[in-house]
Structure formats: structure tokens, C-alpha cells
Symmetry: none
Subunit: 186 residues, 4 copies
């Protein structure tokens, strides 16, 4: 008895969307074919047709996630004119973009957890980081770029897990200091 939806392009895309949403909700561990299929409104058998493997699905999902986040990051920095605007862009990234959503927060940490154990995901993360670095290099020296990147990472994490509120002024301050010429020691 012919079930509807015989022709369904972008089904693959819909599955990836559903996968990301599910991971954000229940973690990678809680992301089963069943749940994703249900959320994407797709028969269970369709899952392994489009993605040979649970692995392949996860990889596709996180690839898309990285691309999205990376894009946002680059857009901000590409738009900036001069170091002052660049610093302001970074403030925006930290306070508005990076873990804008709880979902992004969860997805990032789930990805890191995978990356810490599996080379395939580590490559994904390394790639992501190298993109960030390149974007920062438009405005900052190599060392400073690296440090700003770390600061973004760290501040974002601490902001999301900590209990205290962080205000933009402090972030702006820290960026000014980290981008200042090194003091003569002593």
C-alpha cells in the first residue's frame, strides 16, 4: 500500500537537522536512529539508507554544525574595519554568537567529547579552529590571534557554566590588554 512521500529530495538535509536537534536534546549517546527518524518524519529504514552508519550520520551532522558556526565567526570578522572594530567584533562573538543557544553549547561540548577520543572528529575540530585562527589573522598577529581565540573559547565556556553574569565591558577590557604591546619585563 503505497505510503506517500515517494519523492522527497532534501530528505538527507532534514535528517541532519533532526540529528542535530536530537543531539542537542539528548546528547550523542541518546541519539538513536529511532529518535532522529521520528523527528525527521522518516521511516526507520531510511536512516541507514541515507547514512551507511550511525557514525556517518554523526559526522555529517557535526560537519554542518562546524560550518555554520565557523561562517558566523568569519562574517563578523570580515565585516570589521580596523583593530578597534575587530575587537568589538570579538566582543560580539563572545557575548552574542558563540553559544547563542543552549543547543550550540551542547553541540560544541558533545563534539569536543567525541574529538577527544576519535581522530575523525578531532580533524573536524582542528579544521574549525584553523578557520577561526585565519579569520582572526585578518586583524591580529599570529600570537595574539591565538590568544584571542583561546580567550573566546575560555570566556564562553566559563560564562556558560559559571553562575556569575559577565558584562561586555570586562571582555572589552581583557581584549584591550591582550592586544596591547607587551610591557618591558621587570
Amino acid at each position: 500500500m503505497g505510503r506517500a512521500r515517494r519523492f522527497d529530495p532534501d530528505r538527507r538535509t532534514r535528517i541532519i537537522d533532526a540529528a542535530l536537534a536530537t543531539i542537542a536534546e539528548d546528547g550523542v549517546a541518546g541519539t538513536s536512529h529511532r529518535k532522529v527518524a521520528a523527528r525527521a518524519d522518516v521511516p526507520l529504514g531510511s536512516m541507514t539508507y541515507h547514512f551507511a552508519d550511525r557514525e556517518e550520520l554523526l559526522r555529517a551532522a557535526f560537519s554542518r554544525f562546524c560550518a555554520t558556526i565557523s561562517g558566523r565567526f568569519e562574517d563578523r570578522l570580515t565585516a570589521a574595519r580596523g583593530p578597534e572594530e575587530a575587537r568589538e567584533a570579538v566582543v560580539g562573538i563572545i557575548h552574542e554568537d558563540v553559544f547563542a543557544t543552549r543547543d550550540d553549547l551542547v553541540l560544541t561540548h558533545e563534539l569536543y567529547a567525541l574529538a577527544a577520543r576519535e581522530p575523525a572528529y578531532r580533524d573536524l575540530v582542528a579544521d574549525w579552529m584553523s578557520h577561526s585562527h585565519k579569520a582572526l589573522r585578518r586583524h591580529f598577529g599570529a600570537h595574539v590571534a591565538r590568544e584571542i581565540d583561546a580567550l573566546i573559547e575560555g570566556l564562553t565556556i566559563h560564562r556558560s557554566f559559571g553562575t556569575r553574569a559577565y558584562d561586555r565591558g570586562l571582555t572589552r577590557d581583557a581584549l584591550r590588554r591582550i592586544t596591547s604591546p607587551p610591557e618591558a619585563p621587570g
Copy 2:
């Protein structure tokens, strides 16, 4: 038929050890009662005897993990005399301590991933962070302490995932800048 091990104190401890080792190897998702019991050389039934729940086991494991890492952190900073030594302590933390082992790296990210979704673990992390903050406050002002903490976090993560080698000199430099008095703008 007299199964051995009639008297086995610190069995609880051994189970926690085994749990951490298993998480480091296979992630939280791959950590089952079975695997942990096998690694701890403990009968399967013993697992739910000592820990009502898988949850309880995980929480116990991560609590121990946080305490260990936190202790290391505090020891370094307690030993430092004056801001110069404090900065050097932080360099040591970043380059030697934090993700000394691959296991620590994995465990941290697994914990963060849990924390991003579940309040119980979020509390654990918040507590950990507040300890770090307090330790840093021995030597630095509140804002700077917060920023150093972020830098430690960020540099450590980027060092562990990135491909490039990081040298202590750069870290030392960054710390000097972040702890310098803010420049007068423009």
C-alpha cells in the same frame, strides 16, 4: 563453592577507578555496568549494590575527578609567592597539568558535555570553576583572575585539539599582557 574475595573494602573505590578509566576509554556513552565491573574485577551484581544507579556511579566518578584536578590546581597556586611566581604557576598548569594525560582531556570534555545538558553535572563544574577562581584570587584581582581562568581553559583546549605546538614563552607573554594595567585607550 567459595568464591574468593569475601572481604573487600575499598571495593567502592576500585569501582570508581574503573569507571573513570572506562569513561576515558569509551566515553560516558560506552561506559556500562558490565565493562566497569569487568575492569574492577567485581561481580556485575555488585555494581547496583554499591551504586543504586548508573547515574550515581557517574556522579561519584566525576566528583572524584574534579577533586583531583582541582587539588592539583590549587597546590600550584598556593605554592606561588608573589605575582611573578603566580604567573609562572599558571604557565606550569597550562603546559604540564591540565590535560596532562589524554585521559584527563577526555574526562573533562565528557563532563562538560554532561554539564551542558544536566544540572547535576553543571553544579559540579560550577563548583570546580569557583575553586579555580578562588585559587587565582590569591594572586590576582577578580577580573584578571576570571580572564586568566578563561585563558587557561582556552589555551589548553586549543593546544590539545590544534595541530600546532605551543611554547611556554608565548603563554608567558600572554599572561604578562593580560595582567598588565589597562592601557589608556587610543
Copy 3:
């Protein structure tokens, strides 16, 4: 809600019985945990509790099968007094024992099929054959024993697959010839 049968020794045995019956009915390929569990009146989860693996189950089943058949074979030959009775024992084996049941026929061929591809089962078969050989050696020389063994195998197979009826007289004849001293050639 406590399902009955809390204490059920010889459950393992019952599962093996069910497995053999299922293999005989549907072949190894058609032998699923589900079917066997149903036939043994055992919950599905019980299958992998008693046998780590489908493999382990199959091996256990075929081991039992070989032992049973081997036993029958040896009993016949042990009971025989003198070469005449030994030959008659062999006639009995071919015409009554070996593939007494259609089940035995199927099981033997399923086992051979496995053995042809997988060493574990090949060992089982090799062992079985060596037992037969030893039993025949009670009454015949090494070469003749080997040939009788082959004849048993071949006649049984051809009898089971062929369309023609085989009568005991012919078998008796063939045995007399194969056990006769070799003619001088030419």
C-alpha cells in the same frame, strides 16, 4: 511483575535442544535467536545470557549433535564380536543409524557446510571422523577402516539424496569386497 520460572536449571540444555530442532527445520541460516527462544519457551534476552553469541550457541548445538551420533556409532561397533559381526554392525549403521531421521541428515549437512568455511567447525568434524576411525580400527586395518568410513559416508549420502532404494544385501556385498584381501593385479 514477577514472571514465573525463576529457577530453571537445564535451561541451557533446553535451548540447545531447541536450537538443533530449529536448525533441522530451517537450516543454520534460518535459525534466529527469536525462533530458538520461542521453541525453548525462554525469553529472548535469555539467549545471549546463556550463549554469549549466536556462534557459541551453534557450536554448542553441533558439539552435542556430534557426540550423540558418535556415541551411536561406537556403541554398534563396540558390541560387535569378530569381523563378521563388525561388518554387520556397519550395515546396521548405514541402513538404520546414520541418517535415521531427516533431522540428522539436515544437521549433518549443515555442519559440513559450516565446516567447509570455518575452522572451528572443521575441528568438530575432524574430531568426529577420528572417533569413527578409531571405532572401526577395533575390527579392521587402518586402510580398510578408512575405506569403510568413506563408504558409510558415501552410501548414506547417496541413499538419502538418490531416488533409488538401496537394499542391505548390496551393502553387505560391498563391505565383503572392500574387506577382502587385495587381489593380485592382472
Copy 4:
């Protein structure tokens, strides 16, 4: 984008080849449309186009197999002149032909296993055996032919599964005895 292979006669043949190779490798149970299609380098949909059924494919494959083996058998015996050469032909069949390859061994036993349960394959085997019998009848009486056939079967199987090496001299001897006139019973 112009998928190649618009014109592909003997695709059917190629599929059968692939099926036999797959059966030899993974058994009938492990032989799926997918595997065979991949090995034959043929689209999956093509499988059920050329063979209505998995059944039909298997039957076609085993038919070809029987024909091949039977042909070899008949050729040997047709070429023989006189009983001495016929016996020597049989020695050749046993020691060189029958399970020349591991593949032939596997295929034969897989076929027997099917035949033991399913009439369609039983017919195939019965036919094969009747061909062998007819070929042997060129040189031997009905009873002896039957017994030689059994001996071929049995010796071949025992040779392939046993651990001991078999030498041609013994086979030759056995054949001489089995073809000798029956002794007068003692």
C-alpha cells in the same frame, strides 16, 4: 550524467559468477543481493530485474555449478578405455577433480545442506548423482558403479575434512577391491 554500461549482455552470467563466488566465501546465508550486486559490479535494482527472486538466483547458480562439476566427471570417464583406465580415471577424480578448490568444497556442501531441506535442490542433486552413475555405468556394473560413486563421495569428504594425507596408492587399492568379484563367503 550518463551512467556507463548501457549495453551489457552476459550481465546475467556475470551475476551468477558473482553469486557462486559469494556463496563460496560467505555461504548461502551470507549471500545477499547487495553483496552479489557489488561483486558483479551491477546496480542493486538489476538483481531483481534479472532474477525475480533470491531463490531463482540461488537455483541458477547451483545449476551452473552442478553442470560444471558433472561435465568434468563425465569427461574423465568418457576418455577412459577399459576398466583399468576407468579405475585410474576415478583415482584422478578423487585426488584432483572433485574438490579441486576450496570453493568447490564449500559450494558442494552448501548445496547438500539446501538439498537436505528443500525439494528443488534435492532434485538438482539427484540429477547430478544420476549423471555420475550413468558415467560410471560405461565401465562398471550397476552395483559396483553405485559403490564407486559412494566411495568417491566418501573419500573426498574425508580427505577434505580429515587431517591425514591420503595417497593415491590406497585409493587405487580400494578401487581394485571394490571392483573385484565377490569372494565366496567363508
